[in-house]
């Protein structure tokens, strides 16, 4: 029963996205455009771009996730399906995790797939690509998980966008620091296992705690 509800909710959210493609394309488009503007705005010197590439890629991944975050619970809140989710006998954190998973599949995975292209654009050494992908693979689900708490708290507000950014961005800072630092170290040829293990630990922490926090926040918002 629980796994069936989990899968049904993921399937439903994916169906909704494929019938509303503009929502799904927005974050990845932002990621590509914003990243490709940096060489134009700064200077196309390869050494400069190579040194700032990890930071640019991570900051843009962060902002692209933030851009898509509000849609996580918005339509469900407006059309009353969020009430159905809260009133289901299936524990709410599990259903919230299903929604976060669907959201990550739609917004996080395209970012990871685009990252090598943008890394090439900024001249990031090939030796660091693997680390970049691994760090994004650990980091982007965490962005969705932690962001879900913020969205759950602000979805009841009509104009919650600015508040959402204020709530969520400070919690994104550790991901940014360790993610960008791992890629930096890989580009310099230094071992990166420390940063990656820390990212993995933070991911596990977010995976176990964030669904409960987001479910509790949703109850407060709806109640």
């Amino acid at each position: 029963m629980i796994s069936r509800a989990f899968l049904a909710l993921i399937t439903r959210d994916m169906q909704l996205v494929f019938r509303h493609t503009s929502d799904a394309v927005n974050p990845v488009l932002f990621f590509v455009i914003a990243t490709s503007l940096f060489p134009l705005g700064l200077s196309p010197q390869p050494e400069l771009l190579r040194s700032i590439a990890p930071g640019i890629l991570w900051v843009n991944a962060l902002l692209a996730t933030l851009l898509a975050l509000d849609s996580l619970f918005r339509t469900d809140f407006d059309d009353g399906t969020l009430e159905q989710i809260l009133l289901s006998p299936v524990p709410t954190p599990i259903l919230v995790l299903a929604k976060i998973t669907a959201h990550w599949l739609v917004t996080g995975v395209p970012l990871i797939l685009c990252a090598p292209l943008l890394a090439m654009l900024l001249g990031l050494p090939q030796a660091a690509w693997g680390t970049l992908l691994l760090a994004l693979l650990l980091g982007t689900p965490m962005l969705s998980l932690v962001g879900a708490i913020g969205v759950a708290l602000t979805v009841g507000l009509r104009r919650g966008g600015a508040l959402l950014a204020l709530l969520v961005l400070p919690m994104y800072v550790p991901v940014l620091i360790f993610g960008a630092h791992a890629v930096d170290a890989a580009a310099a040829g230094v071992p990166v296992s420390g940063q990656l293990l820390l990212l993995a630990a933070m991911f596990i922490l977010a995976l176990t705690l964030a669904p409960f926090a987001a479910a509790a926040a949703l109850r407060i918002t709806v109640g």
Binding site: L9, R12, G80, E83, L87
Partner: protein, 216 residues
């Protein structure tokens, strides 16, 4: 927890001295309500008197300022999953996804429920006169047809307790008659029902009590 002997008759749903606020304004206080199998309570009152809030308190969506709601003698916050497996709530917003077809909406709603009737989603849609609209996306349905999709959800969830917020909104004469026949069948099968409606039911099912929040 209450001893079974303390329950009025065989009340399954019991709300004791409920009090609720919206902002600083008190909506109701000392509100007591009990519901036994085969009984219905129709909540009436002017706009803004707290009908929807009362229904949401009874569902467990809203925590009351004071008082408690018991289901089979157990506070609903204590065993949420057991209570929600026996509840079907139809809110003012019908919970119909406009991008999905009627059938997809029902399939997803069924997956979130544990109790299910013997009806298939197709049969439920036929019962609410949406035969031929199974594969039509929600945004091309009229408001009344969307409401009928929500009603089909009630048919699929074979739960003893129905809590319905304005189920007659946007329905035509035939739709109203359909809802009334669904309600009668539900009560005849020992179901329980709490509903709000502005239109008086033309033929209220036997065992319907009226709770007027305006008199509180």
């Amino acid at each position: 927890m209450l001893q079974p002997s303390q329950l009025p008759r065989d009340a399954q749903l019991l709300a004791r001295s409920l009090q609720s606020h919206r902002g600083d304004r008190e909506l109701f206080q000392h509100l007591t309500l009990s519901l036994s199998p085969g009984e219905a309570v129709q909540v009436v009152g002017p706009n803004g008197c707290g009908k929807t809030t009362l229904l949401r308190v009874l569902c467990g969506l809203v925590v009351p300022t004071a008082g408690e709601v018991l289901w089979r003698g157990v506070p609903i916050q204590q065993d949420r999953s057991a209570f929600h497996s026996e509840l079907c709530y139809l809110g003012y917003a019908g919970g119909v996804k406009l991008e999905l077809t009627a059938l997809e909406n029902l399939r997803c709603a069924m997956a979130l429920q544990s109790h299910r009737s013997h009806l298939s989603p197709e049969q439920a849609l036929e019962r609410v006169d949406l035969y031929g609209f199974e594969d039509v996306p929600g945004y091309t349905l009229s408001a009344g047809q969307r409401r009928r999709v929500s009603l089909a959800r009630l048919l699929l969830a074979a739960t003893p307790l129905w809590i319905l917020d304005e189920p007659l909104t946007a329905l035509d004469g035939a739709g109203t008659a359909l809802v009334e026949s669904l309600l009668r069948e539900h009560l005849a099968a020992d179901g329980m029902l709490v509903l709000t409606t502005h239109q008086p039911l033309a033929d209220p099912p036997a065992g319907t009590r009226v709770l007027d929040l305006g008199e509180q």
